[in-house]
Symmetry: C2
Subunit: 143 residues, 2 copies
DNA sequence: CAGATTTCCTATTGGTTTGATATGAATGAT
DNA sequence: ATCATTCATATCAAACCAATAGGAAATCTG
């Protein structure tokens, strides 16, 4: 029902990397992203590691290091991101099955399915496009 | 993303009251519901008070007291229940509006809207029917 | 009226999650 | 070598969650 700020930050990070990746292939430092978007650097670090674990970004260590998106933005669905960061939530382990509980579970499952239908059909590229659309035209050239 | 057990219990309570309400108009005690469905009594009490506050159930105090559903099951949507128990979550107060954040917010809003579309169109009566459908036929007559 | 019973109300507790910071090791560019 | 950066853990405070506790208020029965 409620999405954590960790997930929001992750999306912002992915957005930033995708945005920069359109222009240059040079790695981008977390420190810079944290500053430009006003995000807690150390927290971002943890999130970046998680994203790296999923194989979506590549981290280059050392000086001049940073992160690069390692997946085409059109190929990464926001459902993927939500699933990674919001836990699996598929606690099918409840062995008690009263008809009432089953009906409730089924209802909640339908809610989740409706949400998934949106998130699985929205890609990072879509999000990037939407952000660009919301950016005033005269800022398009500040890149 | 994750629904609390409080909400689950609330739905079970409403289901129980709706089920009993089809037969008799006598109030049903929380103690009994807690026992038959194996729910923590004191916790149920709090939930019942919340549901009463929303005007969906009526509480009768004293001996032979209990709770009665005070709303037609077909009129109470599960969206109503979710909204009451899962907080409002409409934290539109964020005055910082980078295009990126806006795009992310819009995406999450679309997810929520998809969920709401299901929950607002599912009523307690639907849930009751579904539970009855899942109940073996030979238990229909145990009432 | 007296007593029993049930809802109503508020506080508190233990445990988990969340958001964030701290510290330092590993690694790579120059 | 040096420095900057990712990588990896550990820790912390605050918030939230599930549940319990204790009693006040109301209402039925006798």
């Amino acid at each position: 029902m409620k999405v954590t700020t960790k997930t929001i930050y992750a999306l912002q990070l992915l957005l930033a990397l995708a945005d920069r990746g359109r222009v240059s292939r040079a790695p981008i430092q977390l420190r810079e992203i944290a500053e430009t978007y006003n995000l807690p650097f150390k927290f971002l670090e943890q999130i970046a590691i998680a994203l790296k674990g999923a194989g979506w970004i590549h981290g280059q260590r050392g000086k001049e290091g940073g992160y690069v998106l390692s997946v085409p933005p059109r190929q990464l669905t926001l459902g993927d991101v939500l699933r990674l960061l919001e836990g699996d939530s598929s606690s099918k382990s409840n062995s008690h099955h009263s008809p009432q509980e089953d009906a409730i579970d089924a209802f909640l499952e339908r809610c989740k399915a409706a949400m998934d239908d949106v998130s699985e059909h929205t890609t990072l590229a879509d999000l990037l496009d939407d952000a660009a659309r919301r950016r005033p035209a005269d800022l398009e050239y500040q890149i």
